[in-house]
Amino acid sequence: MNFTHTEDRRMLADALDRYVAEQYSLETRHKISQSAQGYSPGQWAKFAELGVIGALFTEAQGGFGGDGFDIAVVFESLGRGLVVEPFLASAVLAGSALAHAGNDAQQALLAGLIDGSHIATLAHEEADAHYALHRVSTRAVRDGDHYVIDGAKAVVALGDQAQTVIVSARTSGDVASEDGISLFVVPADAAGISLRAYPNIDGTRAAEITFRQVRVPASALLGAEGQGLATLEHAVGRGILALCAESLGAMEVTKKQTIEYLQTRKQFGKAIGSFQALQHRMADVLLEIEQARSAVINAAAALQADRSTRERALSAAKYSIGRIGTLVAEECIQLHGGIGMTWELPMPHYAKRLVMIDHQLGDEDHHLARFIALGQA
């Protein structure tokens, strides 16, 4: 048993931490997130150069990592820096889907994702699905050697920035059937795609994407027709781990800044951290963050395990992170008092991200229910 990361991973995390500290200040981050693009192509190229994107892929895929603990160290560091680049959308979600089910031509897209020259995203969420992966009402109908896609996808990360959109659509079955879901690799400029892009409250960016009679060649199909759910689950599973680790990194910073505030802010003539009512709340926060860290370790370690073990560990982690991330955010704002409500301070921006992570790839309730269902299967 050993709970230390390999030297390679520690070096990667150190290099990434250093880069973010020097080149990705909160001020820089605000500018990037308020830009029209919502990420920085220049920064993205730098991250690619540092090898951070490559660390999320295996050697066979053109990277040099790809393990659960590679995802964990990278995203924990990104969380500490509150980075808004396309790591989750392009590298983890779209990248994992392409790597999992892509044919040679589709796998060839990975090189561009890894070197940062190409941005892809995964459009799977729908307005009425509320995180359920198998609930797909977007339809794709075969028409000769083409498919015609109709439907709407919700809150697609960097939906207006991606050059390639991987979209889930139903080729058979009813709206909630686990069979009959297919994935398509679609160029973002395909005729019939329209989108409405917007900023998110946590500084990230997304879009509603509508597909109206979008004709794609049959070669756009990713994996076998009707068998897309397994690929979706694979990609989303890796995304869940990434989000959990990102949250852990953000929790650490939130915690550190709150402790510093408790030590320095004086009221009634002494540091407010000397008050037991606040000490016990902070002690709870610390305890919960250590449980969150264990949840991330459990999920990362289970990533190569059999489906039931893996998916239960992922749901357990996402449930834990959703619950604890929200707790940390709420408690740290409260412990800061009024100043915790201001834009000026870094902490509230971390708090917003912590809460919003619960709204990506399934919240606390969704994953608790899923954990139960997987245990009863």
């Binding site: 709970f3 016990h280 902070m282 610390l286 449980q291 459990n298 357990a316 139960i372």
Partner: protein, 398 residues
């Protein structure tokens, strides 16, 4: 990162499992599983079984008769014992006093007392808490006044677990009133057969006699029974409290209780459906299962850090808090699973030799009593609020 046990550790685990399967009588494991009481003879028999195997003093170095286990082995041992529903080891002699004597005792004290702990010749109990010294332990008032070759002890100890079985008690006594509370305490070993020692039962809310009050009236204690230096007893006290905390989270107890609860929830019907399928019950069960999985990994992180030379500090406090919360939630869910059968309480059904059929499901006999009894978990060993003070002080630096 590697969360698996080494082949050596797995072999060790298999050895422990073999011992438990072969040697622990089924009558005992059934009673432990069902939350029924074990008498003094049963507990002594379990100690003797472990001692024969050389495993009783799992925290002692080999030169004093310990097995020489590292923290991971101790964790595995405790975990397997709990999973097998083995009786609990009475900690006062082997896990508490033993390490203190080894660290602070004179050579003569070690020679005399340690073998008697192993053989079971002495049954020790703990004289720490007093009516006015609970969480504020340093305020103990029981006095020991030097008179020739003896101390004369007067005062009262309380919450003395299984003191009714004990022949010896180790006590924190005040030997100097004129200094800071922590600086006037001494660590004294007292023979309970000495005139002036009076043990009176405290009946707990579940109707049980587990704890006692111990009164001392002009009790003569030889000065040879002082451990460490006079007025330095607080050092021993703290050492005892922090010495061995690999099992503070009680992961094994929780694993065993969860496994049992899942079986109960699967066969208990609610409105024609297994209780395990009831969404609200299932959600509480899943929450505690996830909390337990997380805490298990936290516990292993602490243990491997200690094995690598680190010292558990505030992490022990975290494990104590979350570990007891989980154990209490599991007893609460087990009680709830009984439905109306949580109400009937036939005290004799928990004693040896009771042969009447159970009222309601078999587990109902002890479910509510266990729930109420386990409220103690977040109170003893430093209440969970005291643990939060420790976390604040050590980690927050507040």
């Amino acid at each position: 990162m590697d969360l698996s046990f080494t082949p050596e550790e797995q072999a060790f685990r298999a050895g422990v499992q073999r011992f438990l399967t072969d040697k622990v009588p089924a009558r005992l494991t059934a009673r432990v599983r069902d939350g029924k009481h074990l008498g003094k003879a049963d507990l002594q028999a379990w100690h003797a079984l472990l001692n024969d195997q050389g495993w009783l003093a799992s925290h002692w170095p080999e030169q004093y008769g310990g097995p020489g286990w590292n923290t991971v082995q101790k964790f595995i041992f405790d975990h397997e014992c709990a999973l097998a529903y083995a009786p609990r080891t009475i900690p006062f002699g082997v896990n508490m006093l033993g390490p203190v004597l080894i660290k602070y005792g004179s050579e003569a004290q070690k020679q005399h007392w340690l073998p008697r702990i192993l053989s079971g010749a002495d049954w020790w109990c703990q004289g720490y808490s007093e009516p006015g010294a609970g969480s504020d332990l340093a305020s103990v008032k029981t006095s020991a006044v030097r008179s020739g070759d003896h101390y004369i002890v007067n005062g009262q100890k309380t919450w003395t677990t299984l003191g009714q079985h004990a022949n010896m008690i180790f006590c924190l006594v005040r030997t100097d009133r004129d200094v800071k509370p922590q600086e006037g305490i001494s660590f004294l070993l007292i023979d309970m057969a000495t005139p002036g020692v009076d043990v009176r039962p405290i009946i707990t809310l579940d109707g049980e006699h587990e704890v006692n009050e111990v009164f001392f009236t002009d009790v003569k204690v030889p000065v040879d029974n002082l451990v460490g230096q006079e007025n330095k007893g607080w050092t021993c006290a703290k050492y005892l409290l922090t010495y061995e905390r690999t099992n503070i989270a009680g992961v094994g107890f929780s694993d065993a209780a969860l496994a049992r609860l899942k079986l109960i929830a699967a066969r208990t019907l609610k409105n024609g459906q297994p209780l395990a399928r009831d969404p609200l019950f299932a959600a509480r069960l899943a929450r505690v299962e996830i909390d337990l999985e997380n805490m298990k990994t936290t516990n292993l992180r602490v243990i491997t850090a200690v094995a690598g030379g680190g010292a558990p500090g505030a992490e022990s406090s975290m494990l104590k808090i979350r570990g007891t919360e989980i154990r209490q939630e599991l007893t609460a869910l087990t009680r709830r699973a009984m439905g109306p059968y949580a109400l009937p309480f036939i005290k004799e059904a928990l004693q040896d030799g009771y042969d009447q059929p159970a009222v309601g499901p078999e587990e109902a006999a002890s479910a509510s009593a266990q729930y109420f009894n386990n409220r103690k978990l977040s109170i003893f060993g430093g209440s969970n609020e005291i643990q939060k003070n420790i976390i604040s002080k050590m980690i927050l630096g507040l």
